[in-house]
């Protein structure tokens, strides 16, 4: 589904990704771990297509299509979803309007008619229940005045509504208490299917107790320095990132 080969990317002349290789197939959940500042969010941004990052070398192929040079909205319409580490506030734009516009633009891209109003509202309600969102979310402006935890939940809520083929969740666990974490994990697990894939970016192993990955990768200084099964996460938890750093030298 996603194939990244020797990806090098920089910002303001500073190289952040220094040759990343990653293969994600349908039905898989991958975890990317690593200390702060090693380029995890940068990798997510480059896959999403944020233009402040310069791709110097390598390729990113999604469902057989080359993503390099493809605009952000087109990638989203192709089925890529990014759950942001720091979701931005959009005052005045209600969640209902935002989601409805998103869903209908995606449908239009795929040659489908707009989703009928009632079907859309039903879907909103269903996903609110899934994520145990009790507030009048629909009328609130996108992320405006949301607590840290609410923002993270809202990212997963949007993922649930849009039902992407590839979801990248960037530190969705940070800022969540244990109850919220379980709800979010349950939400994500419910969305797991043989025909979609998820990349979970996390700093801690905690989330991976609830969203059990098929593969774990350690990103360090712009490279994936270690890959393995879910036990790698436990090993990291035991030995700490120092262990990786030492292994590097």
């Amino acid at each position: 589904m996603l194939s990244i080969k020797n990806l090098r990317a920089s910002i303001e002349g500073k190289e952040i990704l220094k040759g990343v290789n990653l293969e994600v197939r349908a039905g898989e959940v991958h975890a990317i771990m690593g200390p702060n500042g090693t380029g995890k969010s940068t990798l997510a941004s480059v896959i999403a297509g944020r233009d402040i990052f310069e791709v110097e070398e390598g390729e990113v192929i999604f469902k057989g299509k080359n993503l390099i040079g493809m605009p952000v909205d087109e990638r989203a319409n192709e089925g890529i979803f990014l759950g942001f580490q720091y979701p931005v506030e959009i005052p005045g734009v209600s969640m209902t309007n935002f989601m409805r516009t998103a869903i209908n633009e995606q449908r239009k891209y795929r040659g489908l008619d707009s989703m009928p109003a009632q079907e859309f509202l039903n879907r909103m309600e269903e996903k609110k229940r899934l994520l145990e969102i009790h507030s009048k979310l629909a009328n609130r402006s996108v992320n405006e005045g949301f607590s840290g935890g609410e923002k993270k939940k809202n990212e997963i809520f949007q993922m649930a509504i849009l039902d992407p083929e590839l979801a990248i969740l960037d530190e969705t666990d940070s800022g969540l208490d244990i109850d919220a974490l379980k709800i979010v994990a349950h939400g994500v697990n419910t969305l797991r299917r043989p025909d979609n894939a998820i990349i979970v970016i996390t700093h801690y192993q905690r989330l991976l107790e609830y969203i059990v990955p098929d593969f774990v990768h350690v990103l360090f200084d712009g490279r994936i320095v270690r890959s393995g099964g879910k036990e790698l996460a436990f090993e990291l938890e035991d030995k700490g990132y120092e262990w990786i750093k030492e292994a590097q030298v």
Partner: protein
């Protein structure tokens, strides 16, 4: 444009915008520039170019006006000759040659029109293009339309229904014939003929417009609507509108505008006067989308308008709601004189400028009575190389004890070549009144656009969403069919403003 299926509206309204409308926006975004830029080829009865006392006599004679009205015009004209064009607004434009304008143009017609069948088919076609098919209008929307093409009001719908309640809604010229004493009693009482340069010009040469009288205690059952359109080349349009809400009455009045696309600039200098007597409420809504000129700043309408209402009686209320997206230059300050004790004045405005458009708009709230209240919500949106200014005056006179004003003036900038300016003037002559003013300036951030893009929303749609969200406070004050229209317009007029 008003051909909205009301049943569909009520179902879809839960979203604030209609699903279908949203698709239309998308569709139109990918389309051409000014959608209403077509020209109707109708035989015209025109005054010769230029402005002299003879021109005024010509207009007055064509309209079969009483002597006092001709005198009113001539007095205004003589005063106008002594005046100079104002230069203080934050706008600039080449000098206007007032002798190069045609002051009267009317579609030629042989007899009085009694039914739609008698209306020039070309004209009806124009209405269709504008989206206001009069027939459908009647059946579907319950909106009475007084369509003004160039200078003569062609057909007023619904008048008969309204007449049963004693409501008079007709063209200004018709009112002069039908109820001359009412016209004479109120004309120029809110905007005197020597009020300002453009008001004097209008008072001298006004062509037509709408007249509306709501009798005592009557609540007008439908939204009254006027549709203005400038058609013939080199014609200035000088409407005159007079709305009188008698004691305890209520009316909501909507004005919409379009103009065909032309290279030359077209002058538009209207006057709207509103009188609200004791306990009366008048809501006046405008969606203005005159041709703004092309991307290089050529052509477009000069819109120099004087709109003013007076809350004459106690507990009366006037509110102005406007969405201004068009015109090359907009110079417009819908105001309220709060004369009656406990009267209320409101001004809700969204003004969008793009490319080389210039807008200098705002309001004046003149508090004369005790315990009077006014609210000003102004949302400016600038894009391209445009300039958008808010100019407002809040005056609390000595007599206006315990009065209050709240003003909120926000500016939203798209890109960094446009300008937003705020000129709030406050004059407080008593100590018991409170004037509050808040102002913000914001930008649509790259992060916000990126976030929207990542959800599959194109940049154009994202701007439409954000701008409509930003203007929501004002849009929700509009009658529903106008609100939908206004949302589309906002997105349309910002087309290509980022990227």
């Amino acid at each position: 444009m008003y051909r909205l299926n009301l049943i569909q509206l009520s179902v879809e309204n839960i979203f604030g915008t209609m699903e279908k409308e949203n698709n239309d926006i998308l569709h139109e975004l990918t389309q051409s520039e000014y959608k209403y830029g077509f020209y109707t080829d109708i035989e015209m009865d025109m005054a010769p170019k230029g402005l002299t006392e003879d021109t005024i006599r010509f207009i007055s004679a064509r309209k079969n006006e009483p002597e006092w009205l001709l005198e009113y015009r001539l007095k205004a004209f003589r005063h106008w000759l002594t005046m100079v064009e104002p230069e203080w607004a934050h706008i600039s434009y080449p000098p206007i040659d007032y002798q190069d304008i045609i002051y009267y143009a009317a579609p030629k017609r042989k007899k009085e029109l009694k039914s739609l069948d008698e209306v020039d088919p070309e004209l009806l076609e124009t209405f269709k293009k504008l989206g206001i098919s009069l027939e459908e209008q009647k059946r579907l929307s319950g909106v009475a339309v007084d369509a003004v093409i160039d200078s003569v009001s062609v057909k007023t719908t619904f008048s008969e229904t309204l007449e049963k309640q004693g409501i008079i809604f007709c063209s200004f010229s018709e009112a002069v014939q039908k109820v001359p004493e009412l016209v004479r009693q109120y004309l120029g009482t809110v905007v005197p003929s020597d009020d300002n340069y453009f008001a004097a010009l209008n008072s001298a040469v006004f062509s037509d417009g709408s007249f509306c009288y709501i009798p005592k205690g009557v609540r007008c059952p439908i939204e009254l609507s006027t549709y203005f359109r400038i058609n013939a080349a080199n014609t200035g349009q000088f409407e005159r509108t007079l709305i009188i809400g008698d004691e305890g009455s209520y009316v909501s009045y909507m004005e919409g505008c379009t103009a065909p696309m032309r290279d030359e600039n077209q002058l538009h200098a209207a006057i709207v006067e509103i009188i609200a007597l004791k306990d009366a409420e008048v809501k006046y809504s405008t969606v203005q989308n005159w041709y703004p000129g092309n991307k290089k700043g050529e052509g477009g309408v000069y819109n120099f308008v004087t709109k003013r209402g007076i809350c004459k009686g106690t507990h009366s209320k006037i509110s102005w709601t406007q969405v201004e997206t068009g015109s090359a230059i907009t110079w417009k300050y819908p105001s309220v004189i709060l004369m009656g004790d406990h009267s209320v004045g409101e001004f809700y405005s969204v003004a969008v400028t793009n490319n080389f458009q210039q807008a200098d708009t705002g309001t004046k709230m003149i508090h004369l009575g005790k315990n009077t209240r006014s609210t000003i919500i102004s949302k400016g949106i600038s894009a391209g190389q445009s300039n958008n200014s808010y100019r407002g005056l809040v005056k609390m006179t000595k007599r206006a004890a315990n009065s209050r004003n709240f003003s909120q003036c926000d500016s939203l900038l798209l890109g960094d070549r446009c300008g937003a300016h705020t000129f709030p003037y406050i004059k407080a002559e008593n100590k018991t009144s409170i004037v509050e003013h808040e102002a913000t300036t914001s930008k649509i951030s790259d992060e916000q656009l990126y976030y929207c893009n990542q959800r599959g929303i194109s940049t154009e749609s994202a701007i439409g969403l954000i701008v409509n969200g930003y203007a929501r406070e004002v849009l929700k004050k509009l009658p529903m069919e106008f609100a939908v229209e206004a949302q589309k317009l906002l997105s349309l007029s910002l087309e290509g403003s980022v990227g």
